[in-house]
Subunit: 193 residues, 2 copies
Amino acid sequence: MVRQRGFDKEKALDIAMELFWEKGYAATSISDLTAIMGIQRPSLYATFGDKEKLFEAALRKYTNLHASLIRTKLQNTISVKEAFRNLFEELIEKEYKNKVSKGCFCINTIVELAPHDEKFEILTREHEMYLSVIFQETLLKGIKSGELESNLDVKALAQTLVVALIGITVLLKSHPERSFVDKSVTLILSLIK
Amino acid sequence: MVRQRGFDKEKALDIAMELFWEKGYAATSISDLTAIMGIQRPSLYATFGDKEKLFEAALRKYTNLHASLIRTKLQNTISVKEAFRNLFEELIEKEYKNKVSKGCFCINTIVELAPHDEKFEILTREHEMYLSVIFQETLLKGIKSGELESNLDVKALAQTLVVALIGITVLLKSHPERSFVDKSVTLILSLIK
DNA sequence: ATCATTTTATACCGATTGGTATATTATACT
DNA sequence: AGTATAATATACCAATCGGTATAAAATGAT
């Protein structure tokens, strides 16, 4: 009884996510978005509400994808310490490969919007807290398997790994010497024992 | 022979620095700036060039102030480890006191502009590298005084402290539970031995 | 006091911003 | 096949963007 949408909503959202991720909220215009998404302005507004709603939808999609990606990477290895090492090293490798480093969409949003909009403060904080829970679970598995010491302060270590992940992700955007970030990753991983 | 400027250039730059620091480059308009600086648009352009030049001048002023502030704080204590602890704790205290946390102007710029403008990539990277040098000097002093172990990897530790400082500064903008950041600071400081 | 020089204030520029009104096109059900 | 409904395309909106032309006001040297 109705005309159906001529584009894939999820694909369009993916493209919007990539652009917001790369340029941030303020620097991305509706014209930029419609051009790259391949849709007209009224379609964007009819489908996603307004610019802020679209941004929020894109960020929620990112945090879901990011969390499950992290969880998967931490599950697929025998050694917990190796898993964390691979996590950091893949992050570093990817940022040095790409010419323009987008960093982490969630971290970018903490910096740009969290201080000025409580909605994004909560959304981004909860994602970081969720990451620390994933890290805790991974560390606990390492203790149970006997790989890690049983008297490890799992919570403190997980939170420190989150802090380190944030610090390295941000620092990579300024393209420091590779050895700089490699050395600090090695030292941080030495806390997992 | 000429009319003299009716405002203090350095004071005006300080005010611009605060606003760019709080809102970022894209979200700060010339009208915002002239209003808070108390000057007219042509005065701004005559004195500082254009928006980007003003931003760069503000950021350079910030990095200079920030570096000397950090160096001062690390000098004024007998124990090196205590000095670093105070550095982190004062940062945390300040961010929890203020309602809107501006974070670090340099870090904000790494996230917003470094990936899209080589000038700011270089400027911000050099500041972070400079901080790591200050940290190295401080740690070396601790070794010479006998407080720290002589086999400490000073470079790796200094770089890790920079990474941790960045991570905590960013995370604070999402207002996590106080215990979260306190615990990770304690664990990071345990690397200084 | 006059004059050259620079800052100031007002007003304006075209371009772009986020967001919509309108009218046309395409679809699913009767 | 006709009709109700929603998505599309075009064109437009006021507001704001970064930046400037112009002219009045203020200054220090003569």
